[in-house]
């Protein structure tokens, strides 16, 4: 993504970015003509990362496809809060079938469009981590293997949130959920190998895999736009904090997501055909504790006593990610080398502190 140098002088404000850029470089959300595909009135919780992410993703996909887009949604929070009978928040053709079949249904839509000579219309599939990493995994793998022309978005809030916060294959170690409660010898989710869907997608050799978070919405839009410029199976894994399930303040959703990336716990990168093509460097490296302390799902790591061993293991995990993806490589003082970043000059360090 091209970057533009701007001069920003306002201290203490978060209103930075779009209005200082050339119109052509502004986000889809800045456009008054935006599709507003997920319009207001839905029933998402205050501070829902998924609602924010979906709005950005679908509007970007609609802009990239000139409005020629069909969305297929798995069962889950997004589907439930966006379509409470008799209302729907969606302003594009939208299909919800079952929990575990969104990738296969999307494959069917794409096949139908191709067979009927309408493959100018693009297909977007959406699911949560439960519907993607667990129950929809088989169908997702099949879609990847066939290289079906579908962009699949996983909104990862790291548990089955819609059913009341139960553990999924994407739940991080030590996190409290209703099926991995903070009791016993190993409170919270056990430490295992994890289930890294972006890496699994890469192992399928598909044309585009990327991770993103709602902390960097320009990056998210950029990656959606880039994915829409390609055909075949594509996968985007978006970290979306859930204030209810994570026990974080609704107003801190973006900050929590940013800390996930700045600790290294959630690496932000792109890959094509199994090879990493870019990784977003960490701008301000934070210790995992800064991230964990903002979420009650990790409260048991600090109270009634500190579980230093567990915190240490989480730190190790973050450090391994940093090493693996080179997230701290290169010149720390300079701008981030990764894509989706707006180059700014000015007191960046001060601004970050003030946001905190």
């Amino acid at each position: 993504m091209e970057t533009q140098e701007i001069r920003y002088f306002q201290v203490g404000s978060r209103a930075v970015g779009n209005r200082l850029l050339d119109p052509g470089r502004r986000t889809a959300q800045a456009d008054p003509e935006r599709a507003n595909a997920l319009t207001c009135g839905h029933r998402a919780c205050q501070g829902c990362g998924e609602a924010l992410g979906a709005r950005y993703v679908v509007d970007a996909a609609l802009r990239a496809s000139a409005g020629r887009l069909v969305a297929v949604n798995a069962t889950g929070c997004l589907e439930v809060f966006s379509t409470p009978y008799p209302e729907s928040s969606w302003q594009l053709p939208w299909l919800h079938s079952l929990f575990g079949n969104a990738p296969a249904v999307a494959t069917g839509v794409a096949a139908a469009l191709r067979a009927t000579g309408r493959d100018d219309i693009r297909v977007l599939a959406q699911g949560g981590d439960g519907g993607t990493v667990d129950i929809g995994f088989g169908c997702l793998s099949g879609m990847f293997e066939r290289d079906d022309d579908v962009l699949y978005i996983c909104y990862d809030n790291e548990a089955y949130m819609n059913t009341g916060v139960q553990r999924s294959g994407a739940t991080p170690p030590a996190a409290r959920t209703m099926t991995t409660q903070a009791v016993g010898d190993e409170p919270g989710n056990p430490f295992g190998q994890g289930k890294n869907l972006p890496l699994i997608a890469m192992a399928h050799g598909i044309g585009y895999v990327a991770t993103a978070t709602v902390a960097d919405l320009r990056d998210l839009e950029y990656k959606v736009t880039k994915a829409m410029g390609k055909r075949g199976a594509r996968y985007l894994h978006v970290l979306v904090p859930c204030p209810l399930g994570w026990g974080s303040a609704p107003g801190l959703t973006l900050q929590v997501a940013r800390l996930a990336t700045q600790t290294g716990l959630f690496p932000v990168f792109e890959a094509e055909r199994g090879e990493v093509t870019s990784a977003t460097r960490i701008r301000r490296h934070a210790p995992v504790e800064e991230y964990l302390r903002l979420q009650k799902r990790y409260a048991h790591l600090f109270s009634p006593e500190r579980l230093d061993g567990v915190i240490g293991k989480l730190q190790d995990q973050a450090d391994r990610n940093i090493a693996r993806f080179g997230l701290l490589d290169g010149d720390d003082a300079g701008p981030s080398a990764g894509p989706g970043a707006t180059v700014t000059t000015g007191p960046a360090a001060t601004r970050d502190e003030e946001i905190r």
């Binding site: 409005g67 020629r68 887009l69 069909v70 297929v72 949604n73 589907e79 439930v80 379509t83 409470p84 009978y85 008799p86 729907s88 969606w90 302003q91 594009l92 053709p93 939208w94 299909l95 919800h96 079938s97 079952l98 575990g100 079949n101 296969a104 249904v105 999307a106 494959t107 069917g108 839509v109 794409a110 096949a111 139908a112 469009l113 191709r114 067979a115 009927t116 000579g117 219309i121 088989g138 169908c139 793998s141 099949g142 293997e145 066939r146």
Partner: protein
């Protein structure tokens, strides 16, 4: 023009003539030859435009069909036995959403124990799924039913499964007439969906429906199947007028005039049954046959009328409801409510056990002599059953029943080495 071909091939070629846009393929014996045949037709361009999708499971097969149908394409798949169960959630989703998918079910037994041969337990297990179920007596009828199925499904927005007996029909090679493409096109217009995912007219499909409206939505599904009761004979009549043969309809009767005993059955066993009845009729016995084609919707009035004149009704079934008895029988008994008739359920042909003329002759002889009870498992080896029951009584750790019985028959080695 008839060609000597395998039943499965006949189905494949007929389905191809129906111009499906999307065919989802997952292999399971004994339907696999159908999707293989369609795969060749798509790959060689004989069937075009059509997307042939090799999916990763039957659940995926039906899901791909759901997406395709909702996007405005004519969608088709085939399955059998375990595969039908694996897509169960998706079956209900298809009918609940009102998507006119057509599927062939090559009837196969449901395990455990695993069994690849023919009975009706697979389709019977999905009788409440909201799909229309049509049972073919012959391969020709199976082929013809697919034409009628697409038309019926698309008119009513109800998915249709065409059932034909696995192996018995699918793998039989016989002279079959694949309908001419021009005639098919005249009979089956292009798919005009009632609901479609279209950027020019966006809508949401698949919303959650709460207690305030669920009943009404589901009632409409019930109502649509009642509509089918009316349309099925009409479509069959149109088919007969255009193609010159009787296929489909709700049911057909065979030698029921003056019949005092009537046997009702579905599927390929009807052939053997009719031969047996011919023998008895030649001996002066007033016996007749009702071949039921439409099981869902169940044609209450037509069945009552067809059976009403007989004093004795035997329902010959290729499945059963554990803890109850007959499945088709239950619906037949409802149809005969208030009529005082001798009623018998005979469960035959489970897991592909051949239903022979000799067995049917003996069954009818028992019936005519008043020896037939209310529920009979035809050709049951009582001795084998007794031995296993005795084993269970004697030892707590009696072992898996299937292996024990197979050992008794001599199919597996007797005991540990």
């Amino acid at each position: 023009m008839r060609r000597q071909i395998e039943g499965a091939r006949g189905v494949a070629e007929t389905v191809a003539a129906c111009r499906p846009h999307v065919v989802c393929a997952y292999p399971i014996t004994p339907q696999t030859h159908i999707v293989e045949g369609l795969g060749v037709l798509v790959k060689t361009g004989a069937l075009a435009p059509c997307e042939f999708v090799n999916v990763e499971s039957e659940f995926a097969a039906m899901s791909v069909a759901i997406g395709a149908s909702a996007a405005g394409a004519r969608a088709y798949t085939a399955t059998a036995g375990q595969g039908l169960l694996f897509m169960c959630e998706a079956l209900y989703n298809t009918s609940g959403l009102g998507l006119p998918v057509v599927m062939t079910v090559a009837n196969r037994a449901i395990g455990a124990p695993i069994n690849i041969w023919n009975d009706h337990s697979d389709a019977m297990s999905q009788r409440d799924s909201g799909w229309i179920q049509l049972y073919a007596e012959t391969n020709q009828e199976a082929m013809d039913l697919h034409l009628q199925a697409f038309r019926l499904a698309e008119e009513l927005s109800v998915p249709v499964m065409v059932c034909l007996d696995g192996f018995v029909l699918t793998h039989a090679v016989e002279p079959l007439a694949v309908p001419d493409q021009a005639a098919v096109d005249a009979f089956l217009p292009p798919y005009a969906p009632r609901q479609v995912l279209d950027p020019d007219a966006p809508l949401s499909i698949g919303a959650m429906v709460g207690p305030e409206a669920f009943t009404e939505v589901r009632y409409l599904a019930f109502h649509r199947q009642l509509e089918a009761l009316r349309r099925i004979p009409e479509i069959a009549a149109d088919f007969a007028a255009r193609f010159g043969r009787d296929s489909g309809g709700l049911l057909h009767t065979y030698r029921c005039d003056g019949a005092r005993t009537i046997v009702l059955a579905m599927g390929s066993v009807l052939g053997t049954l009719k031969d047996t009845v011919d023998e008895l009729r030649a001996q002066g016995e007033p016996v007749g046959v009702v071949g039921l084609t439409s099981f869902r919707p169940f044609p209450m009035e037509a069945v009552r009328e067809a059976l009403g004149g007989a004093e004795r009704v035997i329902v010959l079934e290729r499945a059963f409801a554990a803890g109850v008895g007959g499945i088709v029988s239950a619906d037949v008994h409802t149809a005969l409510a208030g009529l005082d008739r001798r009623r018998h359920t005979v469960v035959a042909g489970l897991g592909g056990r051949p239903v022979t003329r000799a067995s049917l002759r003996a069954m009818l002889a028992d019936a005519l002599a008043g020896r037939l009870g209310p529920l009979t498992f035809l050709d049951l080896d009582h001795d084998l059953v007794k031995r296993e029951l005795e084993r269970v009584r004697r030892h707590h750790r009696s072992g898996p029943a299937a292996e024990n019985i197979l050992r008794d028959i001599g199919t597996v080695a007797a005991g540990p080495h």
